[in-house]
Symmetry: D2
Subunit: 157 residues, 4 copies
């Protein structure tokens, strides 16, 4: 199942490497980490069943909205990434949650400043027919979870 | 938007009255409430935007799974209501959350014992081609939220 | 740190064995499990840092309330386990959350029916000078998390 | 109870005005709001029982840690605001949650960049004998909740 999740994320626009770059960026000032460690921790997050289910569900909602297969009024809400929708954040936080509450801060920060692949995907959602209402939050959730995973493994601070 | 939500819940199999019956059932031993108060509180829950978004999203995933429009492996996971899926609980708890953590207990209890309309819908999901993976959890979330709403309004105990 | 957590839970009234009995009770109809497997999974839950922090914080609030060291009005709220308090559920759910949303149902069920050690502790809180406002929810959270841990390890259903 | 909460927040170092300034700062680029509207929305958040309970509990844990009344190892964890603790975020998010998931982003952003009163309080916690492990997260939670409250009241985007 993990291979399917990685493949679908890639198809929708997010590679493990691009997510690992954000992990590295967020952690490099606090910890002595390498890009390889960042990649391993993103992969570690994607091993979790709960995470896989949240990703598959969110990506599918984006795809179905893109193809117009969702009924109104939900279709317009997802296509236009309405700020009061909130279900994208709910799914993303169920990813971060798996490594405890310490990931919430990075999730919110990423979702606000939209750096790297998050910004790229968000912009595509706003300027093309692509729908990435869930994808950008899912990436923020995965990256924040990977940071929390690293913090736990580095232990006692 | 509330009217659409009530209509879709009804179409998928759950009326306000059937949900209010569960609210009444859960609260009658603790509080002096009427069926009318139970109904008003279910309606009050359905007024909230966050609640409406969770319901529309969950019901749409059930419908899309029923019509086979979701891609594998997610299609089979939702069609078979796999116990490790968890996204149905995630959406339902985002409903209960709106009235704080005091609703979690009733949510879990309802989702476990599946009384009334919850059991009816769950059974239809398991014995027919209907898919109610999200609906039964959404009902539990709505009923638990209505109970929490009543508890808050009855105040100081 | 895990040893301290186990010791404090014991001092406050809950042993690993008593919690494992509830895990066994909840799972025996669904899975072929042994008491030893139940015990190992409770221990596995108690290995997690997030879980340890929630337990230490909740037990300390119970102890401080018991000794009257908390200021009013919070002291009375915790001493009397007011139903609108909710922070006990919040801490307990942060335990269950670590194994994803599939544990929420068992948490709520346990917190409602209060079987075994949960009922024992709840009754002591209500009939003696002991304060167990957090302890009973923490136990429900630990047991529900252990059940979710087992479900994940038994995999694909 | 609201008056007590406002008074305790003030005593521990955070006034309604200082929190409202952050609300204004975060919203001014998106909405046409006034400082008065920001203040009214912070007050609106503090009206909620769940919010009051989270604040009272968090502030009390800070005070008890400051006075050395909490047992080890929890005392050192709270006094040193250890990054793996996480219970401060758990309480803060139970505040934000009351207005749905749309507040999570602002919570994380504030908790990361620590502007205004949040930075002031965080610095005092790190450079004096004062303990503000919970306070800075609680403020982030209150401000993020007030922003979500405003977004809901401004409606349909």
């Amino acid at each position: 199942m993990k291979d399917i999740v990685v493949k679908k994320l890639k198809e929708r626009g997010a590679s493990i490497e691009e997510m690992a770059e954000l992990v590295f960026e967020l952690q490099k000032d606090y910890l002595d980490i390498t890009m390889d460690e960042a990649i391993q921790n993103v992969k570690g997050v994607l091993d979790k069943r709960e995470v896989q289910n949240a990703i598959l569900t969110g990506l599918e909602l984006d795809r179905l909205a893109e193809e117009g297969l969702i009924e109104e009024p939900l279709l317009s809400i997802i296509q236009n990434d309405k700020s009061l929708y909130g279900i994208d954040e709910v799914l993303a936080l169920s990813i971060t949650n798996v490594y405890g509450s310490i990931g919430f801060t990075n999730f919110g920060y990423l979702d606000k400043i939209k750096i790297g692949i998050i910004g790229k995907v968000d912009k595509l959602g706003k300027t093309t027919d692509q729908v990435h209402t869930f994808l950008d939050d899912l990436i923020s959730g995965i990256v924040a979870a990977a940071c929390a995973r690293i913090a736990h493994s580095h232990g006692d601070n």
